[in-house]
Amino acid sequence: MSAPGGRPVVEATGLTRIYAADGVAVRAVDGVDLAVEAGETVSVMGPSGCGKSSLLHLLGGLDRADAGEIVLDGRRVEGLSETSWAVLRRRTIGFVFQSFNLVDELTAVENVELPALLVGASARRARHRAVELLERLGVADRRDHMPDRLSGGESQRVAVARALINDPLLILADEPTGNLDSRATGEILRLFADLRASGQSLLVVTHDARVASTADRLLTMRDGAVIGHTHLGGVAPVGSVLAGLADFGDAGGAR
């Protein structure tokens, strides 16, 4: 299903992860096939506990699959050591978490520049790029704050900046709006739209329909398996909703 010219940045086949919970084997991820093309945004939706976060962790190498294979940037990654995974992650993957996971010992800007320093960028370059990103995301004035002084929306924007600093091939976002109010959710959605526009590949795991609806494609998961697959991008906007909003109610009396 690879689109013309679009090579999958990540492709998983038969991905399976089994947890032992109280002696019972739970198939958190059960034979999932999935691919994200370059520049594409894919959402994974499903009720909590359906295995969507586990899937994301497997794709980012934060957890190990029990079966199946992953090809990341054209490279098979099943057998990689923790260290090789870490090194691969630095350049290819940016993580955004529901609970932000900012390092609470570092200021906002230090959090952002951390991945750059890990790939060996000079302190000056890293700082420059971090400040640039924080400005772009509108949180430059918070750069010297510790994470506990940031609001949820600010924290998540700092986290997005951190995910972006090494220009990763793929952003993996796990419930990025899960801990945010409506307004902050709106900010993050706007941010994701900008990223899409700039050609960034995104895989977003969410149970928030607003977030999911902005994707090109939508996978629905239940009990570890993908049960639905929809192309959202392909549907031509009819404009019916917007038209309906302009309907003042006098046409509604038919029923």
């Binding site: 934060l62 190990r64 630095r90 993580f95 609470d104 700082r127 510790m146 002084r149």
Partner: protein, 613 residues
């Protein structure tokens, strides 16, 4: 009452849910209470044994001795002249009571493999007003019997007691009793071997060839503080004359000398027991503190469901006090089992006749220490948890950081590797935890210094005791070794225990630190840090506490040594090279210890840490 029942229920549920943590705490508390129990039991036996024997024997203030040597032909001063001088001394106005003078006979004691120099002191049958030896087995000399009394150390070395016999130059003598006194050191540290005999036995021994080698007289003065001046004055008189064979010694000098031998070891054992107790208390405090930090979140939950703050604190106290109570029982039991064995050895060493026992008062002190540890460690975090709003304690398990955002920059630490910078940050972020750890570790370092000092001190002692065998010292090898084996066992055992405890303490600190930073490190790995980098970060973050601990612990250890030495000894037996080695090895060892739990976390896939909320 209802609130107490609820607290008990909550506490029981908690203990069941975290059995491993509770077991660890129980173990540490038990070690602490056990060591305190042993230490206190030993305290009695180490508590000034010389003073007690001195008091029990109506010990001398001034001891006068004349020796003409073992060569019977040589007579610098004849004994009658010496007796006259002794009589002058005894008549001096400062003197309140006189023991002796007693004649000393010189002979050879037959022992397996040869002979041993022997002094037989001829005593009157009645009780002497000064220096009446304390009988520890059998009975004192009596008129109807030709039995002799052996000095305790000699009896131990020969392994004989009342009813057995000894041979002096082929002549068989019945052992009537065993006794000790401060005018005689213990055999074999003090030579020659000493027995007490009656005038009748003395005549018999003279007949088989024993010769008079000297006289001894023990004086008590009206004012014990005059002893020094008295000895100096009369020694001066004697020094002027033709003889250099008359010696005057004071009780204070003799007591100071007694410290230089085995007495110090008894003090060391007790001090080590106390230090071990302190260290385990520190460890227990660290564990309870860590447990409470983890429970801050739980406090929030309990408050949210309507449990009153009083009930929350009560529940935590009930839980920890239950553990402390159990630890007290187990610890005292263990102390009772161990203490008599240690005391037995110390009795051989110190000559203390009765076995120390654990009293209710001591039990109360041990229980009090255990309770104090948990109460102190519980109340502070509990109160903190209560002061915070319910929402805040629910929101974060860890302590919320203080103060406004630091304006510090990476630039301040520019040039250091990234992991070092991250580690330093982490250490600076939790100064209170760093200090707590440093205190615990510095105690450990101090104990290592003490342990390092025990060994040379032991060697010095052994060297003093096992000088090259002289003619007439056939017992050297066997008897001395027998005695030192027991001492060595205590000393090395204590040193080993100190090292083990110091290690356990450091390991617990490391494990708690690793748990605390697990989430941050999982995040770092999600950002591309390798497991090795996160391990290094943790090591750097903990090393600060360790270096601080070395800086504090070395002087502390040396201080403890000088306290134990009592100030009577030549300089501390811990050489500078050893101290340097400790300063170098301790941080390295600690780094290795920290790496253990850090690597355990680093081996886990980060997802498991990150999804655990």
């Amino acid at each position: 009452m209802r609130s107490f029942r609820l607290a008990v229920r909550l506490a029981r549920r908690n203990l069941r849910r975290r059995p491993a943590q509770a077991a660890l705490l129980l173990l540490t508390l038990t070690l602490a209470t056990g060591m305190f129990g042993v230490g206190m039991a030993l305290y009695g036996s180490a508590d000034g044994p010389w003073d007690r024997v001195w008091a029990a024997t109506d010990g001398f203030h001034v001891s006068a001795a004349y020796y003409r040597g073992r060569d019977a032909d040589r007579a610098d001063v004849d004994l009658d002249a010496a007796r006259a001088r002794f009589a002058e001394l005894a008549a001096a106005p400062e003197v309140r009571a006189v023991g002796g003078p007693w004649t000393h006979l010189y002979g050879l004691l037959d022992v397996a493999g040869g002979t041993e120099d022997l002094t037989a002191e001829i005593r009157d049958l009645g009780r002497s007003p000064v220096d009446q030896p304390l009988v520890t087995a059998g009975s004192w000399l009596s008129a109807g019997s030709d039995g002799v009394v052996l000095e305790q150390g000699l009896a131990d070395a020969l392994d004989v007691g009342p009813g057995d016999t000894i041979r002096v130059q082929g002549h068989q003598l019945a052992v009537r009793g065993v006794a000790m006194t401060v005018s005689r050191g213990r055999f074999p540290l003090s030579r020659p071997a000493q027995i007490w005999i009656t005038l009748t036995t003395g005549e018999a021994l003279r007949r088989i060839g024993l010769t008079e080698e000297g006289l001894e007289m023990q004086l008590r003065l009206h004012d014990p503080d005059d002893a020094e001046a008295f000895a100096t004055a009369h020694e001066a008189i004697e020094g002027r004359g033709e003889t250099s064979a008359l010696f005057l010694d004071t009780w204070r000098r003799r007591r100071a000398d007694s410290h230089s031998d085995i007495d110090i070891l008894a003090g060391t054992v007790f001090a080590a027991g106390t230090l071990i107790g302190l260290l385990t208390v520190a460890t227990a405090a660290v564990i309870v503190g860590g447990r409470m930090a983890a429970q801050t979140r739980q406090i929030g939950t309990l408050k949210a469901v309507g449990v009153t703050p009083r009930q929350v604190v009560l529940a935590l106290l009930v839980e920890n006090l239950a553990l402390a109570g159990l630890a007290t029982l187990v610890g005292l039991g263990a102390g009772r089992m161990v203490a008599p064995r240690l005391a037995e050895v110390s009795q051989t060493v110190l000559g203390r006749p009765e076995t120390p026992t654990l009293t209710w008062g001591r039990a109360a002190v041990v229980a009090g220490v255990a309770a104090a540890v948990v109460v102190l460690a519980t109340v502070r975090p509990a109160v903190r948890g209560l002061r915070h709003s319910t929402v805040r304690s629910l929101a974060s398990g860890a302590r919320p950081p203080r103060g406004p955002g630091h304006r510090t920059r990476w630039a301040a630490t520019a040039g250091l590797p990234l992991v070092a910078v991250l580690g330093l940050r982490s250490a600076r972020r939790r100064p209170a935890r760093l200090l707590t750890n440093a205190v615990g570790l510095s105690l450990a370092v101090a104990l290592i210094v003490v342990a390092a000092g025990l060994r040379p001190s032991l060697n010095r002692l052994a060297a003093a005791g096992s000088a090259p065998a002289q003619p007439g010292e056939a017992l050297s090898a066997g008897a001395v070794d027998h005695l030192y084996e027991a001492v060595r066992a205590i000393v090395l055992g204590t040193a080993g225990l100190l090292l083990v405890l110091a290690t356990v303490n450091a390991l617990i600190i490391a494990a708690l630190a690793a748990r605390d930073s697990a989430r941050n490190h999982a995040t770092l790995r999600a950002l591309g840090a390798t497991p090795r980098q996160t391990v290094a970060t943790l090591i750097v973050s903990q090393l600060g506490a360790c270096l601080l601990a070395v800086a504090l612990g070395l002087p502390l250890g040396l201080g403890l040594w000088s306290v134990m030495d009592g100030g009577d000894l030549p300089p501390v037996p811990v050489p500078a090279t050893t101290l340097l080695a400790i300063a170098a090895v301790v941080p390295l060892g600690f780094a290795a210890l920290v790496a253990v739990p850090a690597r355990r976390w680093a081996r886990r896939p980060p997802a498991r840490v990150l999804t655990y909320e």
